[in-house]
């Protein structure tokens, strides 16, 4: 192992992919003990740049210098050897192996041809986890761990392999507010021994953790400077190129009758454990109810149960006076339910179908799209052209495969289909997950617009800001039941965070 990394520079890095300039003359610099935040919208080139730094891609132009000396990485192994380590956004862990075994995969010191010294790896895991106070159980299987614990395993793994320079790609995207705070505190502690580059588009974290910030847009660095000198608003504006004010739910609340009433709902998870435990919730016409909670507390099962995709064991779901539990999805759709599902690429669209086919998925057998069991092309085309225009779907044409669009545009296709069908109610599950600010703004405006039309909305999200910006009331879900329902003005981040962690209010 070599010594410390006192300075890391990437100079004039340019990387072209067919048809795209992913990195355009980018230079960044990180000194010892510094934290550089790399911010930018999706597709701005952040991850490409880090893949170049880790040796996964070769730059077309430019060079990397460590402690003033030029280095060339042919693969991640070369980067490991120099002390760089990356925690990827999708955790790189093998589910059916233990923590120790996962570390052993990269810990070649413990390898001999016919024997793997797991006790040695285990000692190393314990040593590192104590040194950086990252609590992990070396003998636990990955599948037994929560997302937050898996994140710690990733950090421990990277540190065990000798990293003295950490690259973190959106490290908090799957964490609860508490876990996020803990992680930030931990990382801040580590800066006494390490330097960190961290990729994020959550500006609070950027402010809380970083000394320096570099903003990327369309493959270029548009700004570099000290974090403390700039407000979150400034950074957000530079990130998107124009100032963005996400819309807020500020109009007067004029909620009508209760339209969706859930009583004592019990539903099982895929593993046959109780996912919803006597959950009750009422939603009125013309209000947005935000369901806040750490993912995995029954949100998925709730949305599936309402939409007829999961069996209800007991309890009732009353929709406009009619019980809809355990009806088929078709019957629920025909009752007037609109649904923006969690997995947009899997449940929201048929990726290989064209945009226009995706638009009419739910109504393909009805007029005007079909007559006598034959699709009427002309009507479908004019309808699709209109939707693409109204919802600003950026695409080459309506015959483009929906799966080839970016996440934001796929979400617009789904939103267009669901809203244009004139639903009587809408369930939106993580509608803006992984989208950039421009797309988030559009989707928020649409949700507020249908609220204005007097339609009730159940908004399931793990982004507290999203929930607090849009909701009339906020219900907190924990372990399959509703902890508490707060009115919009009673809710604060701290209060919600405590409720989401399962603490009962007295």
């Amino acid at each position: 192992m070599e010594g410390r990394i006192t300075e890391l520079r990437m100079e004039h890095i340019t990387k072209r992919f067919p048809g795209v300039l992913a990195s355009d003359d980018i230079s960044i610099e990180v000194g010892e003990g510094e934290v550089l935040a790399l911010v930018g919208e999706n597709g701005a080139g952040k991850t490409t740049l880090m893949n170049i730094l880790m040796g996964l891609y070769q730059p077309d132009e430019g060079r990397i210098l460590i402690n003033g000396e030029e280095v060339r990485f042919r693969g991640p192994e070369d980067a490991f050897r120099m002390g760089l380590g990356m925690v990827h956004q999708q955790y790189m862990l093998v589910q059916n192996m233990t923590v120790t075994e996962n570390v052993a995969l990269g810990y070649k010191e413990a390898w001999s041809p016919f024997r793997l010294s797991l006790p040695e790896v285990r000692r190393r895991v314990i040593e590192i986890s104590e040194r950086y106070s990252l609590a992990v159980n070396p003998d636990a299987y990955i599948w037994q761990l929560s997302v937050g614990e898996q994140q710690r395993v990733e950090l421990v793994k990277t540190l065990c392999l000798g990293a003295r320079f950490l690259i973190l790609d959106e490290p908090t995207s799957a964490l609860t507010p508490q876990e996020t705070d803990e992680l930030i505190a931990l990382l801040r502690n580590m800066t006494s021994e390490l330097s960190i580059i961290f990729i994020s588009h959550k500006l609070q974290e950027v402010k809380a953790l970083s000394n320096k910030v570099s903003i990327l847009r369309h493959g270029r660095v548009v700004f570099s400077g000290n974090t403390d000198d700039h407000s979150s608003q400034d950074i957000a504006a530079m990130m998107t190129g124009h100032s963005i004010d996400l819309p807020k739910n500020e109009e007067e609340r004029k909620a009508g009758e209760t339209v969706l009433s859930i009583r004592d709902l019990v539903v099982l998870s895929d593993r046959r454990t109780t996912a919803l435990d006597h959950l009750s919730l009422d939603i009125k016409a013309g209000e947005i109810v935000g369901l806040a909670g750490v993912s995995g507390n029954g949100q998925r099962e709730l949305s599936e149960a309402i939409n007829g995709l999961r069996k209800v064991e007991s309890g009732t779901i009353t929709f406009f006076g009619k019980e809809i539990q355990n009806l088929s999805p078709r019957q629920v759709i025909d009752a007037g339910m609109g649904y923006i599902p969690e997995e947009r690429n899997v449940e929201g669209i048929v990726p290989a179908f064209s945009i226009r086919e995706n638009f009419i998925l739910k109504d393909a057998s009805k007029a005007p799209f079909a007559s006598h069991a034959i699709l009427s092309r002309k009507d479908i085309d004019s309808y699709s052209e209109k939707l693409v225009k109204d919802f600003d779907v950026r695409c080459p044409g309506i015959t483009t495969a929906a799966g080839s669009l970016s996440g934001g545009n796929i979400q617009k296709v789904i939103l267009a289909r669901e809203i244009e069908r004139k639903p009587r109610f809408l369930i939106a599950v993580y509608p803006t997950r992984g989208l950039d600010l421009g797309a988030v703004e559009f989707i928020h405006q649409q949700l507020l617009a249908i609220r204005r039309d007097g339609i009730g909305v159940l908004l399931i999200s793990e982004e507290l800001d999203e929930i607090m910006d849009l909701s009339d009331r906020i219900a907190v879900i924990y372990k399959g039941s509703i902890q508490k329902v707060l009115m919009h003005d009673e809710a604060t981040r701290a209060r919600l965070g405590v409720l989401m962690a399962g603490v009962k209010e007295v």
Binding site: P76, M86, M92, V94, Q95, N96, N102, A104, L105
Partner: protein
């Protein structure tokens, strides 16, 4: 009654060897993420080459045991070569594994049959390999007959079970195999060569399938025919699921299946009036029933099973 049981058990153990070796080979393939339906074809090729060598040497008469050993070695090498070929198709060219496997099965069974007719002709038998009774142990009542009076290949095959366990769970190579079959992207990010590891596992699996075939022709049937393998390659694939990708459980599955088969032949030989068609079906029905009731245990399964890996494509 006890005599009949001892009889069945002592038949069951040598008969289970081909299944055991083939399914342990398939286990390594699947642990590395490659689903090999071509196991049957690899076994057929191994059975043919394994029989051809002692047959050519002795013309059907007595031969030195070394020709049998050579037959086994040739079958293992040929199987490894077929595994390599399967790797080119499924790992490098990323062909759909199920289709490629069916292709390999038809190729192997067909080629072995054709070559057999060309080089050997009609049904010919070979002397096979002798039983080795282990001194002292084989004279234990009952147990001696059941466990310690078999041909040498049986002992070697069963010694391979703990060895397979050790390789899978206690060596760096086994760790790599398990990682590339469950989360190849993670393995890749740790600097492990996914394709190379899958090739290695396929070659080991192929060698074991070849040996399994050679065991059938050299030690068990002492002949070759087109129908010698008769679906054992597919049963081996099923046993891997049955045994949850674990060597000891797979051994249990191989024994259970073979026991059902010997039981079925016993019923027939005892002249109990029972439609033999149904009796023959018994072991296969057993596999289907057991497979439908085994839980899909996602926690041990190699979750990347059947999926080609491509670093450039995110899924």
């Amino acid at each position: 009654m006890i005599e009949m049981l001892v009889n069945m058990l002592s038949m069951c153990i040598p008969f289970s060897v081909a299944l055991l070796l083939a399914s342990l080979g398939e286990m390594f393939n699947q642990r590395a993420g490659v689903f090999n339906l071509g196991c049957e074809g690899m076994m057929a090729m191994g059975a043919f080459i394994g029989m051809l060598i002692p047959f050519s040497a002795g013309g059907g008469g007595a031969v030195s045991q070394w020709y049998n050993v050579l037959g086994f070695i040739a079958a293992g090498v040929l199987g490894a070569f077929l595994g390599l070929f399967f790797g080119v198709v499924t790992v490098t060219f990323r062909a759909p594994q199920g289709i490629a496997g069916i292709g390999l099965q038809m190729f192997g069974v067909g080629t072995a049959g054709t070559l057999f007719r060309h080089f050997v002709g009609g049904t010919q038998s070979i002397p096979g390999i002798p039983d080795i009774s282990i001194p002292f142990l084989s004279s234990i009542p009952f147990l001696g007959d059941v466990f310690f009076s078999h041909n040498g290949a049986v002992y070697l095959a069963y010694l391979f079970v703990p060895l397979a366990w050790y390789i899978l769970f206690k060596t760096p190579w086994g760790l790599k195999v398990r990682a590339v079959g469950t989360n190849p992207r993670a393995a890749d990010s740790m600097g492990i060569n996914v394709s190379r590891t899958r090739y290695e596992a396929l070659m080991l699996g192929g060698a074991l399938a070849g040996l399994a075939g050679a065991y059938l022709s050299i030690a068990q049937a002492k002949m070759f025919s087109d129908t010698l393998i008769s679906g054992r390659g597919f049963i081996a694939v099923a046993l891997v699921y049955f045994g949850h990708w674990h060597p000891l459980q797979i051994m249990g599955g191989a024994l259970l299946f073979t026991f059902a088969q010997t039981f079925q032949t016993q019923i027939q030989s005892m002249g109990i009036s029972f439609p033999y068609e149904l009796a023959v079906m018994l072991p296969y029905i057993l596999v289907i029933v057991v497979l439908s009731f085994t839980s899909r245990n996602q926690t041990t399964a190699p979750t990347a099973l059947g999926k080609p890996f491509n670093r450039e494509i995110r899924t």
